[in-house]
Symmetry: D2
Subunit: 174 residues, 4 copies
């Protein structure tokens, strides 16, 4: 018996990814504030709204949506203690040398170039804004994957703004 | 209430990763045969046993063990239809533009350098040996993540052999 | 004395990158043919012209242009025997375990997702079309970096087509 | 006429890489101090000497040595104004959106896992110790590639220590 191929429509994936972020308490605004903190220094005219628009565009990318779907699924399964051992303990207690959360986030970050990669690394260490909140209010849920994914979305939106700023400067240079 | 930190011992992780491979029908020997096919041409004295030893060494790496734990967990959950939608359909039907399986495998492959990355890319396209079997006997299980992970183990073991061969040549050159 | 900051205009970078490809004997058409060979099987309506348009779009990316600038510079310096030792010999003789050429190409490939990475790995092993020509007519020049860069351009253009094909199918599905 | 294959001995590559670091004013000690600042907080018994030993081990890796050879060569050529335009200006003025320096450094960092990648990203933003010195005493030389390479060596040595600390803890746990 052959398995039937079934295509999942991109729109469905995007809607699911967005509602997962909302369900886990992560607003576009909260991510935009991280982006503003990262990029504000390079562009005095930048507003949090610009940053929110950049976050929106990043969320339209398939690779980001897929990372959200997989990462939040694993977080939620760990929360319900439904993962097999020892994976359950590794994810639940955010085991220090476990790197799959970062690998997943890095995979989503490469698409926006080396500025995105270094910004991601920085956010992963510094944990500002909503990333810090998720990392500390630990007792109320597992966010082992989610904090890295948000860092990757914010890093991508930051890199996108840096490249656009340059394009704009050059357009005006002519 | 604060969550208690719990460390999972490396030995436990390694044992779990190895028994997952076995459970999913993947022997060291089957991976070694892929390695032999990739490296045999560069070294006439290479045996399948050498390749098996190289595979064993790769399986001692934390990053590989973690990738096996996460990837096989997701495959098994998809098999039992226990993932949320639309992730369930994406993993079950091995959706063409889903890249998280490759991202996970690539993360495990970077540790062995650029030879490992290109060998992985090649195996991902060519699908030889056990990788092909898993890819085709689809009706009997979900192996969306597993085939990429095996390609990554084989690629790492190949790269390791290439570097060791060179070290040996240089030692004899003296 | 402080150094003055000088911005290089994107347009200038693009023109330079394109003329370097031409100077080294690599036409858009030759890269498009590789893309066609990689993607033709997935889409019966695909033409070599579609592939050429995709290559053109990839060449507009800053990361690709920079990779061309650096890679061809190193190839040309090696050709003129102007690199320091032992780098001169490593690049001139395309030393097997030297991975910087692949690292540079991989950096340019991540931007197009995991399909691009695996396609790159495949092209790096199989060396079809112009990539093979550059690799074999060795005696007439050094192309240690160039062949990997072309593989990365072709891989990116292939991945771009795969994603676009899917977008088109979905638009028609409605 | 066929080109003769010539192998460059690893020892020669290592010696060259180490003397380039020295020539550019970068001591093992200076890199060890960055590592100590990154890892001291996780391990109260860590000494700068331990960090120096870890740096030494990292410098034995082919991928790092090759990155040093290529990166410093490009820095020195830019210093002597011997690169072609517009690459000369891009490297000399450390053009903000040029990412090849980071790509090269990232390629060398993947080998030490995701801790190394995020530590690298952090160092690239924070620029502590010798990295900051190279970045600011700009007027006296071009270090566009070198500062990223040092960040990558320090990140690798840090990741190596984190993994070893864990191995030691586990050995004592028995």
């Amino acid at each position: 018996m052959e398995k039937q191929r079934k295509q999942v429509h991109s729109k469905e994936v995007e809607v699911a990814a967005r509602s997962l972020l909302e369900e886990r308490g992560v607003s576009i605004q909260a991510i935009a504030e991280i982006v503003y903190e990262m990029q504000g220094g390079y562009n005095e005219y930048l507003t949090v709204e610009d940053c929110a628009i950049s976050v929106e565009r990043v969320l339209q990318k398939r690779e980001i949506q897929h990372a959200i779907l997989v990462g939040v699924e694993l977080d939620k399964l760990a929360e319900k203690r439904e993962l097999s051992q020892p994976l359950q303990d590794i994810v639940e207690f955010d085991e220090g040398l476990f790197g799959i959360d970062e690998t997943l986030a890095l995979g989503a970050v490469f698409g926006y170039g080396s500025i995105a990669v270094t910004t991601y690394g920085h956010l992963d260490k510094e944990k500002i804004g909503i990333i810090k909140q998720l990392d500390t209010k630990h007792a109320e849920g597992v966010h082992t994957f989610l904090d890295d994914i948000i860092a990757s979305i914010a890093a991508n939106a930051s890199s996108r703004l840096a490249h656009r700023l340059r394009d704009k400067e050059e357009a005006e240079m002519v």
